[in-house]
Amino acid sequence: MNKYWQIAKVRMQEDTAYSAWYWAGTVSSILRLLVIYYFWQAVYSNRSAIQDIDLETMITYIVVAMLLQGFVGGVGQDLAENIKNGNVAIELMRPYDLIYKMFAVDLGSKLMHLIRGTIPMMLVAFFFMDIPFPGSVEAWLLFIISAGLGLWIGTFFDFLVGVLAFWTVNIWGVRVLKESLVTFFSGALIPISLFPDWLRVITEFLPFQAMVYLPVSIYSGMISGTEAYLAVGLQLFWLISFYVLVRVIWAQAVKQITIFGG
């Protein structure tokens, strides 16, 4: 356990070394908050609710979803590059489980992102945009659990996409494809309850809504009570299924490396 924690710590230090990217990211997040704010103000300019969602709830949803989406990615990029340049063969010989190592790295960078990126941005949203916190202690706890599960599902999915690098060269294209799918179906842009009926039904059967839509709905109070617990249960189901999938596909992929004598 200790070695994985060390790996995570190294990653945290690495992330603090590149301050240019940090500032660029911060500026971009503030810009996005501004766009969101003005866009929804304009949408609500002559109405008080859209399908029972008022302006405050809507902006809360969109902002929290935007912040949460920053965590949904994972190690897919690193993994894909490792596969492409052949380093994965050396990585596999090292005395750790490569999957756990990758998740440790991911954990490190997410912790750093939380401290340096998300918390300041949350405060900005709280003070300048009047974004409220969840209504009760129960909602807070459920949100934290649900967000954690959602991010984990997102990380696993990202890993699966990264493994695709064994079969394709255009890593960048696959990533954009994945990002669009996730952005679209996870409810990061707009609450899924506003989707047209046919699409909402499809979306409810996909794992993506468990990444952003469910936790953020719990945060903003759009889902509560029994429904919220059911949502967390559904997330658990997806998490376990994805873990099994990761293990199976990874075992297959590693076999492929040996075949090519990597």
Binding site: V27, V35, Y38, I50, V169, V174
Partner: protein, 263 residues
């Protein structure tokens, strides 16, 4: 000029060969960008399923703004994408020195080094959006209007190029200015919607400081009468030209003061 045209063709031919070599990747690239754009449009569509207009702008009018931005951006994406890589592919590894001793303009060389496949997806989706929006807008389309639309789209693309070139040039002093370029590029998100929804300060900034407003909103406003921006909109090509001149002079300045990273 003729020499450069011929050179560009030679560069492009090689790029094309590479693209055809990896056909699946070409398709993935095109599809991915199309899906990315489609997600944003779908977002607008879902919002408009519940309301009729935003600040006086209907769905198809917003789509029209969006279409101009997407098509303009595709020019930048297909032909000038390599500007993004100035820092990490040319300056940091010392590759730029190699270009500097060649008998052609180094900026031309960098730009011609890459023809980006994924930009074609952007172009296709941009044209689809324009094709969907325009028939719904109830405008009279003559040869003049079509010519003007083409000019506006090219100007839009050149503004994207000029802004990226300007901020990429900082790499000459800071080795890699990619984070800056990226942060500035994100400003163009504002340009997807009518600028009238924003605070006056933001509007002024996007009109006169970093003129992303001219990449989509003002050109679209020219065709949509009620907007009241027709006269300003006509300045779009001039704005594009001025931006390019400023960016290119700045580039030359950067190039003169460039001291290689050494290796």
């Amino acid at each position: 000029m003729r020499r450069y045209a011929k050179l560009y063709w030679e560069f492009a031919k090689n790029q094309m060969k590479v693209m055809m070599e990896y056909r699946i990747d070409f398709i993935i690239g095109v599809l991915s960008v199309m899906l990315e754009q489609f997600a944003s449009i779908f977002f607008i569509k879902v919002v408009f399923n519940h309301i009729e207009q935003i600040n006086g702008w209907s769905f198809y009018e917003i789509l029209f703004i969006y279409g101009i931005a997407a098509t303009g951006r595709s020019i930048h994406h297909i032909f000038f994408d390599n500007l993004w890589t100035l820092g990490w592919q040319y300056i940091r590894p010392g590759q730029l020195d190699r270009l500097l001793i060649r008998p052609i303009n180094p900026l031309f060389h960098i730009v011609a080094d890459r023809l980006h496949q994924d930009g074609f997806g952007q172009l296709i989706i941009g044209l689809i959006i324009l094709g969907t929006a325009i028939p719904q807008l109830d405008l009279a389309w003559g040869a003049v209007e079509i010519a003007l639309l083409v000019v506006m789209i090219i100007s839009s693309g050149m503004i994207f190029v000029a802004v990226n070139l300007f901020f990429a040039t900082f790499s000459f002093w800071m080795i890699d200015s990619l984070p800056v370029v990226w942060a500035v590029f994100n400003l163009s998100d504002f340009a997807r919607y009518p600028l009238t929804i924003y605070h006056k300060g933001i509007r002024t900034f996007l009109t006169w400081i970093i003129p992303y407003g001219f990449t989509a909103f003002y050109p679209a406003a020219y065709f949509i009468d009620k907007s009241g921006f027709r006269e300003l909109a006509l300045w779009t090509p001039a704005v594009a030209l001025v931006c390019c001149v400023i960016a290119y002079s700045f580039w030359n300045r950067g190039l003169r003061s460039f001291a290689s990273t050494g290796s």
